[in-house]
Symmetry: C2
Subunit: 130 residues, 2 copies
Amino acid sequence: MTETNEEYEVTQMPIWSAGEEWCGVTASMQLIGKKWHPVIISRLLKHGTLRFNQLQDEIGDITNKVLSDSLEDLQQKNLVARTVVNEKPVRVEYELTEQGKSLKPVIEALHKWGTTHVQPVTNDEDTLTQ
Amino acid sequence: MTETNEEYEVTQMPIWSAGEEWCGVTASMQLIGKKWHPVIISRLLKHGTLRFNQLQDEIGDITNKVLSDSLEDLQQKNLVARTVVNEKPVRVEYELTEQGKSLKPVIEALHKWGTTHVQPVTNDEDTLTQ
DNA sequence: CGGTATCCCCGGTGATACTG
DNA sequence: CAGTATCACCGGGGATACCG
């Protein structure tokens, strides 16, 4: 609630590194460094708006609780907005806030690097010599 | 050892999301999604080569064990190279591999977003109205 | 200097079941 | 449909001490 579009303020401590300026990398990681956050955000970036179960299907192997917790965390951080549409049955929609959308370059960088520099292992058989 | 410059192969499972193509975001997070990895990498990107204690000083609040563990992990993932210089006392240098250096855009994106969109909280007093 | 070796703790993650 | 409510686990992260 209290739809403020302000920046989320980091309260955890280790933000400053000794003798260095503010570490933006650490700051970012505190907001999106959780296991499922980047995937969730990338999904919302791609589809715009998604409902709970849609999100769950998109991601595939995430439990209710974990998805719920993650979304809650993302809301607190003002990266995701939750909208309840009073229909029958109730529909709940999730979308990125402006803050969240501003993460696009970050997610794209992650995606690009992942697809370019990481080799997936199709584990039908280990083709490793050792 | 065995200085292969190949791509690290992901062995953990949840790489594919249901009905979707390879998820590069998840892949990336499996490699650099640990708490200290991005900071370490950003430090090495900035300084090129650093010794153990230099790295520790740069980061500030990281213990021996954790830094050691993180570096070990980064080596396994072929992102960081370790060189032992036999002097007295022994000098050990860490630098990014080519793989590691290729992360530059990612780290830059994280840094830029963090410095632009996250407000640091200098906790001398809570200036929050609520 | 550049690490190991222990030990411990907490919370992120997860499985399962239940609800408005 | 969109979640809570429990309970449990496991390992990343950390403090401290020791070593070649």
